[in-house]
């Protein structure tokens, strides 16, 4: 199932119930996640913020099936996914989940186009269809003229944009972004910020884990984490310009 086939489903795209993740045992037990509850509605952009080591990346990995929870459930569009086999999870990632990583994780020996078409090829689409889709996506992120370049010839911001294009390759239900601007300078951050904002307005469901407040501010909803648990939650869309005056120093 991908985005275009899931129009019927009205519930939340992503749901987590009592999600827990522990490492080690006995004295060395580390609770990375502590009974986390989460829901992401279709088309919503959710940002999760927190200091390093608070478990936000672990949360993302559990939601994307890259790791198995110690306890709890993860539901993707009404289907429970935490107990699936590696094989089924891989198939899921092909069609329903797109990843964007802090370290970009592009294949060094493939050009931008070849990187973007890879998920489509892994999903079994014909090389021509995959290539076409890759060209579309590269245009969408504004990198058509860099399509034949290797990652080593691209700047950090361009690499991340290629990674975002790759994540969109199979029209995923949800895009999971783990510190997308963690390795970028401020101008590259702005580029990615604009891209994420554009994704949000096109209706893509996004879950962004970040410590960058600007990126978090693009979200519809913001959750803060500390020590593996949620501590604060705010809806960001309803901020009015009225308060802006105060923030700008326009006090009487």
């Amino acid at each position: 199932m991908n985005a275009s086939e899931s129009l019927q489903h009205l519930g939340p795209v992503l749901r987590a119930r009592g999600l827990e993740k522990q490492y080690g045992q006995g004295m060395g037990l580390v609770r990375a996640l502590d009974a986390v509850e989460l829901e992401v509605a279709a088309g919503e952009t959710l940002a999760v913020m927190g200091p390093s080591g608070c478990g936000k990346s672990t949360l993302l990995h559990l939601l994307g099936g890259l790791e198995r929870p110690s306890a709890g459930e993860v539901w993707l569009e009404g289907r429970r996914i935490d107990g699936l086999s590696e094989k089924a999870l891989a198939r899921l990632r092909r069609h329903a989940i797109g990843f964007v990583f802090q370290a970009f994780h592009l294949m060094d020996e493939l050009t931008a186009t070849e990187n973007v078409e890879l998920p489509a090829l892994l999903a079994g689409r014909s090389p021509r269809a995959a290539r076409r889709r890759a060209a579309e996506l590269l245009e969408r992120v504004g990198l058509t003229d860099r399509a034949a370049h290797l990652p080593s010839a691209l700047s950090g911001g361009e690499r991340q944009r290629v990674a975002i294009a790759r994540a969109l390759s199979n029209e995923p239900l949800v895009v999971l972004a783990d510190e997308p601007t963690g390795n970028l300078d401020s101008s590259a951050t702005l580029d990615v910020l604009r891209l994420l904002d554009g994704l949000r307005s096109s209706g893509q469901t996004l879950l962004i884990v970040t410590h960058d407040s600007r990126i978090a501010a693009t979200a519809d909803r913001l959750i803060s984490m500390r020590d593996g648990a949620f501590v604060e939650e705010t809806r960001l869309t309803h901020g009015s310009t009225g308060r802006l005056g105060e923030l700008a120093g326009l006090e009487g």
């Binding site: 790791e67 094989k87 891989a90 998920p119």
Partner: protein, 601 residues
Amino acid sequence: MGRVLLVCRLAARDLRRRPAEAALLLLAITAAITTLALGLGLREVLSKPYQSTRAATAGPDVVASVSSPPDSGVPADLAGLKALARAPGVVGHSGPYPVVWTKLGSHGQTVDARVEGRDTAPAPVDQPKLTEGSWLGGGVVVEAAFADALGVGAGDPITLGRRSFRVAGVAVTAATAPYPELTCLAHCVPSGLVWVSQANARSLAPQSESLAYVVNLKLADPAAAPAFVDAHNPPENAPPGARASDPMPPLLQSWQEIHDQTASLVRNQRRALLTGGWLLVLLALASVAVLVGGRMADQIRRVGLLKAVGATPSLVAAVLLAEYLVVALLAAAAGLAVGRLATPLLTDPTAGLLGSAGAPPLTISTVGLVTAVALGVAVAATFVPAVRAARTSTVLALADSARAPRRTAWLIAISARLPVPLLLGLRVAARRPRRVVLATASIAITVSGIVAALAAHADLIDGASASDPSQTDRMNEVLLVITITLVALAAVNAIFITWATALDARHSSALSRALGATPQQVSAGLSAAQVLPALAGAILGIPGGLGLIAAVDPDSTTLPPLWQLLAVVPGTVLVVAGLTAVPARIGARRPAAEILQSELA
């Protein structure tokens, strides 16, 4: 001095950090060196038993014999033989002794035997040395190898002709090659030697005219025996005016020829061992290259660190070389030692020669060659990386960008059209073309060895009827051991290459899984990256093996059966697929999140 110490310390520390690899390297080179040493050492070994037998029995320098042509009624030229005993250069002789061919019966079997009449008193030249029992004394003495083959010992009854005798003893001699080598006196038959009293010998002959005679000569200069033989042997063609009724002139054989005949027993083994040894050396070279290649990224970073603290490129290269030289030298020493100990197992000569081969003396040439080979392997494999590492700029080395994977655009384009496992496998292989070449070479070398061994085996089976079964068995054993060693080394190579590839590709494997490839597809891809080169190597190995056997033994024209040749390729592929399945599976199942977290762009 301080720099040498520094180099040694750095090299030692590096080896300690990776004990498994160092051990593997040691094993590979040692196996190769052992086989080589065995092959080389055999040469020394061959002479020893014969020499000691010669010394113990006062062996002759020349053996001359005359016989009467069969059914001609012309007696043997005894006078000619006696004249030889007085020829210039001869300082001693024993005989002439009568010789007659007859049938020997023992334990229900009947074989050809050559009976020589001797005196009870010890002869000055060629007095066979008893290993059992006593000399003649009413009975007969059987040559030791013959006795061994017949299964008789002192006290056993045998029949010669139609008369029964008791075996009085078993002895060795240097005057003739041990059973079952062909002995050519008048006619060449594989016949065992039995000594009887002169009277008994004459009585065994059907007519006195059919007796042959043999005389053992001692020369002033034993080294001149071949010249003596050439001078006195009859010419190839009969001189003009010869008549059938003329007595046949004496036939001479120098001790060197007899020695060579003895040697031929192990000559084939030696050839097999030398060929196998060189193949193993090549394989070890491939192993070392793989290991070195796998450590290159690590090495380059170390190089960067060394250079950053002020080490010059030459020091850096010295450290790199030192590590492998140490291992190679250790391997050479170990290989020589093991080879020395193992030689008797292979070369215990026939019972027909005195004493076991014992440990061959370590001649300078063997030690020198073996050490040179070990060092050569180490240097050859590390030379290119060492030079490259030494010349890399320090900044680049520290940034570790020198090992970026290679990009082969056409392979990537082709792989896009293939099913997912082949797509992944082809791209994994294309990242490290050098490793693919090494893998193919490794399999090609091994399959060449296997095919050559199969051909040699087929040759053995062909000639089995004509030769001693124990020798055939031993040769088969040698072939088997070499084949098994080759296969073992190649298997270790294959596993190691797969492991190194899985490690090297762990980032792209984890990423592929994050993007939607199943673990099965990824491990199938990792396997395919090994199986495809193995297939190519196996196909190359067949003509390689046939060429090898043609080069080593041009006379043998036996090919292994077609079904064996055809089975080698799919067999190799299946074995490689099986061997690499486990490391590939393990490599594909590590948690993706862990890998992606730890790998920074």
